[in-house]
Amino acid sequence: MIPVGEEGRGRALTEFLAKLLELGVVDAMVVPVMPVPGVITYLMAKDAELIRQRAEPFAPVMPVNGASPVARAVSKRPQGRIGALLKPCEIRALVELVKLKQAEADNLFVIGIDCVGTVDREEYKDAYSDLDNLSFRDACKVCLNPNPPDTAFPGINIGHIGLSDSRGLLVSLSPGLDPGIAGIIEELGFERGDALAGMRLAALAVLKEERNSKYQEFLEKARAELNGEGIEGVAKLLAACIGCRNCRVACPVCYCRECIFDGDVFEYETRQVLARAGKKGGLKLPGETLLYHLTRMNHMSLSCVACGMCEEACPVDIKLFPLFAGVARRTQGLLQYVPGRSQEDQLPFTTFREDELEPR
C-alpha cells in the first residue's frame, strides 16, 4: 500500500512513479500528463522531475487508447525496460496488439490502474478543475472491467476502487515479475494493505454487478433502436457517416497499416458507379458506408475491448459504441474469447477446432 498524505492520492502516485524511474526499475515511463490546461496527453518521461511536475495519473479522460501509441513507441528494435501507466481497457488492447504481432511486449513494464470511468475530452477541457458535474462516457458507464487484468504483463497494479481519497493506494506485483525488480519496489517500504484490499474487492464486486445490469440494459436498448428493419435499420443508424475513417484510426485494435478501404479495391470506374446506382435508383455518396462498418465488425469485433474510442472519434456523432459492443458480445461469446485477458489465449481467427460449428 502506498500511504496517501494530505496532498492527495494523485501526488502520492506521481511520487511513486517518479521513484520507479529514479531507482532504475524502468528506463523510461509513459504517463498521462497535462501540457496545457485541460489537455491530457501521454509523455514518455526520461526525467523523473517531468513526471513530478506534469503527471496526471488520475485524470478521468482518455485522449487516445494508450495501447496504440505505446505499442508504436516500444516495438521497433526494442531496448531497455519501458514503464507505462495504463487503464484497464488500454492494457487489454495492448494484449490484443501483442497477439496481433503489432507490439513487442518483452521490454514492457505495465503499471495498471483501476479506472471507474472517463469523461468526454471536450467536456474535460472546459471543466477539468471541477469535475463533479460531468458524467462518464457511455462506454465507461457500462464498462465491465474497471480493474486491470492480473497477469497480462509483468508489472504492477494500482488499486483504489472503493478506497476514499485519503486511505492509500494498493500496490500488487504481478506473479512473473523479475525478483530483482520486485526487491527494489519492496524496499520502498510499504505497509501491508490487507484491510484495504478487502474493501477494494468488496467495492469492485458491487460495481461490477451494477455495471453488468446497465450493460445488458444498454445493449437491449441498442437492439431495439434497429427496429427489426434489417439492412435498412442499420443504414438509418449509420446514414450520417461521412466516411472519414476516424473510428478506425481511433480503434486500438484495428491495426492494418494499410486498410483495404484505403486501397483501390473500392475505387470504381464511372460506369460501375452508374450501374450500381442504376440498380437501386441511386447511391449514397460517400458510399460503402455499411460495407465499411460491417467489415470492421467482421475483422475486429473479436478483439474489441469496448473502450468506445470509435464513438469518441466520430465527427458526426454516430452512436457506434452500442453497435460494436452488441456485435462484439455475440462474436466473442460464440468463440468463447475474452480479448485482453491473457497473452496465452489464441486469437480465434488463427486457430480452429475440428469438432465445432457447422458444417462438419
Binding site: 443504414a235 449514397k284 460491417l294 467482421n298 468463440l335 480465434p348 481467427f349 480452429f352 457447422e358
Partner: protein
C-alpha cells in the same frame, strides 16, 4: 403476374411512377453469388455440368483458391448490393488443399452470421457447404435447396435501400 406489396419487402422502387409503390413478380428468381473453392466445390460444380445433372441456373459462381480466402467483406458486399443469397463452398473437413482453410472459413462465416443477426439482418441468406470434387449431385441438390429456400424468403430487402 404482378402484385402490389408493402415497401421494402419486395423488389425495387419504381421511380417516376409516383409514390413508393412496389411491384413484385411471383415468378421471383433469386440470384445467388457462389464463392467456390478451386479444389473441391468448383470442381464438384464442374462435375455436375459434365454429368449433365440438371439444377437451377440462379447461381453465379466465382472461383476462389480456398474457402479460407473468402473475406466476409465480399459476402457482405454481395448482400448489400442485392444478391438474394451467397454460397461459400469448401472442401470437406480434413480435406482442405491448404490443410485448414475450410476450418478457418467456418469460423469466419460463423462470426459473420453473428454480426448479421445482431444487427437484425437475416443470416439465412448466407450458406456454407462442404462439397467435394466428386459430389456433383450434392452441388446440384444444394443449389436446388438454396433456391427453394430463397424463394420462401423473398427478394433481398437491400435491393430497395440505396443509402447503404
Amino acid at each position: 403476374m404482378v402484385l402490389p406489396v408493402s415497401p421494402c419487402a419486395w423488389g425495387v422502387p419504381r421511380i417516376g411512377r409516383g409514390g413508393t409503390e412496389m411491384e413484385a413478380s411471383v415468378d421471383f428468381e433469386p440470384k445467388i453469388v457462389a464463392f467456390l473453392c478451386n479444389w473441391c466445390t468448383y470442381t464438384g460444380a464442374d462435375l455436375a455440368g459434365v454429368s449433365r445433372i440438371q439444377y437451377p441456373s440462379n447461381v453465379r459462381p466465382i472461383r476462389v483458391m480456398c474457402s479460407g480466402s473468402v473475406d466476409p467483406m465480399y459476402i457482405v458486399k454481395a448482400l448489400l448490393d442485392g444478391a438474394d443469397g451467397v454460397l461459400v463452398g469448401g472442401c470437406h473437413a480434413g480435406d482442405c488443399h491448404y490443410v485448414s482453410g475450410n476450418y478457418k472459413a467456418r469460423r469466419r462465416l460463423a462470426v459473420l452470421r453473428e454480426v448479421l443477426d445482431e444487427l437484425g439482418i437475416s443470416s439465412e441468406r448466407v450458406w456454407f457447404k462442404f462439397i467435394s470434387a466428386s459430389e456433383g449431385a450434392l452441388f446440384a441438390e444444394t443449389i436446388r435447396e438454396m433456391v427453394d429456400s430463397l424463394k420462401v424468403l423473398g427478394p433481398n430487402p437491400a435491393k430497395a435501400v440505396w443509402f447503404t
